[in-house]
């Protein structure tokens, strides 16, 4: 049965991942290597659980790369992208050209015709976006100089795939296979209309992203159905990928562009949260497929040749990248990171080699050998990174690398969840003092309004862990929970404490009962909605009755101190007692206990420092 086959496949892939990745992580090898090993384990040269259909899985899983680029785009505002233009064009361009020429030269020396040699060089010059970005992100190195430069080079490579696809057939030395065709119908057009179509597609993504997607998302958000938003997010990515494939552009590039356009929108974090798990799964699947595709038979049959090719590829790419690092005056340690991260062949090479072979540019036998080489070079990357991390980097970096420099995004130290009356006052106070907070709110109308006023507010439900993640909870210092429905707060607190232990939570509570729940959940900073306002009204009432202003103020301060203490004490009491039946009863019980404590406290004396009674007793008798 087809369905059974699918489930069996899914079972095999998922088990491989679930078993191999945690072991690899535990051994400090990183998840990428874990997936690759898992793939090799279930592949034709391991347990043989995956056969030829592994190739189809790989093509399907490549979509993970598309999603990854979309997410990278979401993190990158247009202004930041513009700032990257130098590294992208300069470093990216030089990397591709130099590597292509060097590798082509080697091909020429090995006796290939120059057309073939150049094509192979250009194809192999591409690096693996999936492996590089995933490894960098996992190590938290995306924001380092080396990480940023790597990203710039990868971006240029993605751009270069388009002209490469167009130019490859021109390098044909043999007649193309009958099945050969350029990707997309646009390739069959004359150059000028073709350029128009490409530009039109890009413009459609940019303009659509700016003017169509936001109202559409707003309408979807209004339904309040989370899965509908997820569906819409997926639909968006898939639609753009389809459009790009149709006109012959790289889908990854198209979704990246859409990501950049949407980076400024209020739905950014929600989109990130929705796409992230799919991306993670698909990328994992992709790495497994690559692992399964590693052709150990050619390695076994011609070990010297294969090993030589892999080493030559990796070492030559390393050399070119290191030279570039020097040209662009990078620190050696960062330059090494760049080189190591980009020294493998990319996932596009699989497509490009089959395309080149079909068009008679590259001999099919050579293509097969080179695909195996690329797969092995990919598997080598995590090992090289390990070498860099454990040996080279500590040797070179006397001082710890500053990871905060050149931040891709501007996610703040504070996340405010809920921007209603409560959260907005806190947010305004912080903003007035130069602290930019990341704001999450679930009311699409309010988000829209606040953004029109120029505030950085994002649509999303903070009780979702993935969304907190997307909002930068892993890096933030404070999380202010000012939800309109504080009942949800303890859940969020529990999740936040578990996953982001560095976060200090400040939580709004609607009343004492709420406060108890939050205190029990371990929040130390709890703010009852009405306490301060009520006390201010109380102070004014006392003043209007003739109390001294400062006396009233001190009375309120004492009251508040006592009240806060009693809430905390009662929380422990509550904990010891059997659980309350319902919130209403709990509230009444709390009020009762408070009032009783209040009555007992009536005669408590305050501010004795100003009281001269005892002084009069001791010193006042002399003249009496």
């Amino acid at each position: 049965m087809h369905g059974e086959g699918f489930f069996f496949q899914a079972f095999v892939y998922l088990s491989a991942a679930v078993i191999a990745v945690p072991i690899a992580k535990r051994l400090g090898l990183g998840s990428v290597l874990g997936y690759l090993i898992a793939g090799a384990g279930i592949g034709p040269f391991g347990l043989r659980l995956v056969g030829a259909e592994g190739q189809d899985v790989m093509h399907f899983a490549e979509f993970g790369v598309v999603m990854m680029l979309f997410l990278v785009g979401l993190e990158l505002r247009p202004a930041l992208l513009w700032r990257l233009r130098g590294p992208v064009l300069g470093m990216g361009g030089l990397q591709l050209a130099t590597t292509a020429l060097v590798l082509g030269g080697v091909g020429l020396a090995l006796g290939l015709p120059w057309q073939s040699a150049l094509a192979i060089g250009a194809i192999l010059a591409n690096s693996s976006t999936a492996i590089a970005l995933q490894s960098l992100a996992e190590r938290g190195q995306l924001r380092t100089e080396g990480g940023q430069r790597s990203f710039a080079v990868l971006l240029f490579q993605d751009l270069a795939v388009i002209p490469l696809l167009a130019l490859l057939p021109l390098l044909a030395t043999a007649s193309p296979a009958p099945s050969a065709r350029a990707e997309g119908w646009a390739a069959s057009l004359a150059p000028l209309p073709r350029a128009a179509v490409l530009l039109g597609a890009v413009a459609a993504v940019v303009i659509g992203g700016r003017f169509l997607i936001r109202p559409a998302f707003r309408a979807i958000a209004r339904t309040g159905l989370r899965e509908l938003f997820t569906a819409a997010s997926l639909l968006l990515v898939i639609a753009i990928a389809l459009l790009m494939t149709k006109v012959g552009l790289s889908p990854a590039l198209g979704t990246f562009l859409a990501g950049v356009v949407l980076a400024e929108s209020e739905y950014r974090h929600e989109l990130e949260g929705d796409i992230e798990p799919f991306k993670g799964l698909l990328l994992g699947l992709f790495f497994i497929a690559v692992g399964a595709a590693v052709d150990f038979s050619s390695l076994a049959a011609r070990p010297l040749l294969t090993t030589g090719l892999v080493l030559a590829l990796v070492l030559l790419k390393l050399g070119v990248l290191l030279a570039l690092g020097r040209v662009f005056r990078m620190r050696l340690e960062q330059s090494l990171l760049l080189a190591v991260v980009l020294a493998q062949g990319g996932e596009f090479t699989f497509v490009l080699f089959s395309f080149a072979a079909q068009n008679g540019v590259v001999d099919p036998g050579h293509a097969k050998l080179l695909v195996a080489t690329v797969a092995l070079s990919m598997a080598l990357t995590p090992l090289l990174l390990l070498l860099h991390e454990r040996v080279l980097s500590p040797l070179l970096a006397a001082a710890p690398v500053s990871r905060e420099a050149d931040a891709i995004d501007e996610e703040g130290a504070v996340i405010i969840a809920g921007f209603g009356a409560f959260g907005s006052i806190v947010g305004r106070l912080l903003a007035a003092n130069g602290v930019k907070a990341t704001v999450l709110d679930v009311d699409p109308e309010r988000v829209e309004l606040l953004r029109r006023l120029g505030l950085k507010v994002f649509y999303g439900d903070a009780s979702r862990l993935d969304l907190l993640h997307a909002a930068g909870a892993a890096r933030a210092r404070l999380l202010l929970l000012a939800l309109d429905h504080p009942e949800k707060a303890p859940e969020v607190v529990a999740a936040a404490q578990k996953h982001f232990p560095q976060l200090t939570v400040l939580a709004r509570a609607s009343g004492r009962t709420d406060a108890h729940a939050l205190l029990e959940a371990g929040v130390r900073h709890v703010y009852r909605d009405t306490l301060d306002t009520s006390l201010r009204a109380g102070v004014d009432a006392l003043r209007l009755l003739g109390f001294r202003a400062y006396q009233a103020q001190r009375a309120a301060q004492a009251f508040r101190r006592h009240d806060e203490r009693s809430v905390r004490e009662l929380t422990h009491l509550r904990h010891d007692r059997a659980a309350y039946l319902d919130r209403a009863r709990a509230a009444i019980r709390d009020l009762e206990e408070t009032l009783r404590a209040e009555l007992e406290r009536r005669d408590e004396r305050r501010d004795l420092g100003w009281d001269a009674e005892s002084l009069r007793e001791e010193f006042g008798q002399a003249e009496r």
């Binding site: 001190r554 001269a612 009496r624």
Partner: protein
């Protein structure tokens, strides 16, 4: 008649008491000088229970008066904290002192204090070891730096043991002093600020800061 009015000193009493509700002496003293013509009573703890002193308002008040009175209980040989806060915030550089700070030049400052200890305690051989005048050195120097003439303080000693009649007597004396100061103008008061600034004492102080 019109001349007499014009030479009258406008008096600002800055009153600082954190717990007037339990005060015996200061309450009476304050009552004795309240409601006098040309005398402004400014109850600091009533105005700023949160210590958030309104600086422009305070500076305008100072500018509009000729004699400033600090009236307060002598807590731990010093002022109550709000008066210190007031000094810190209101006497800004460039306004009260410094090259441009001449707003207070030529005005006068009187301290009106109550102490729990009796007068004998504030002597070299007494258990407070210093005179009140010595203990007031920070205020006196503050006044000098701001070009204020520092008047001999009005002190009510031994508040713990004062009888009601004695307190009334002190209140009367305080009122008399304020009234006298209101009427009395010294030649120096009428001197233009430039002249006052040129006097050796003041310029020396200015350089010292």
């Amino acid at each position: 008649m019109a001349e007499a009015v014009s030479t009258r000193q406008r008096i600002l009493i800055l009153f600082a008491h954190p717990a007037l509700q339990s005060s015996r002496v200061n309450r009476k003293l304050l009552a004795a000088v309240s409601g006098l013509e040309g005398v402004t009573v400014h109850d600091l703890y009533e105005a700023y229970p949160d210590f958030d002193v309104d600086v422009p308002r305070e500076q305008a008040l100072l500018a509009a008066h000729d004699l400033i009175v600090f009236q307060h209980p002598f807590y731990w040989y010093s002022t109550p904290p709000l008066l210190k806060q007031w000094l810190d915030l209101v006497l800004e550089h460039g306004w009260a002192y410094g090259r441009e700070g001449r707003a207070l030049h030529g005005k006068r400052l009187l301290c009106a204090l109550t102490t729990g200890g009796r007068a004998e305690a504030y002597r070299r051989e007494g258990h407070n070891r210093f005179t009140v005048r010595e203990l007031l050195a920070p205020i006196e120097q503050t006044a000098r730096l701001c070009g204020l003439e520092f008047l001999p303080p009005f002190i009510v000693h031994g508040t713990h043991s004062l009888s009601a009649a004695a307190i009334e007597e002190q209140a009367r004396a305080y009122r008399e002093l304020i009234l006298a100061l209101r009427e009395r103008g010294s030649s120096r008061d009428e001197a233009p600020p430039e002249l006052a600034a040129a006097t050796p004492g003041v310029s020396e102080v200015r350089d010292a800061r």
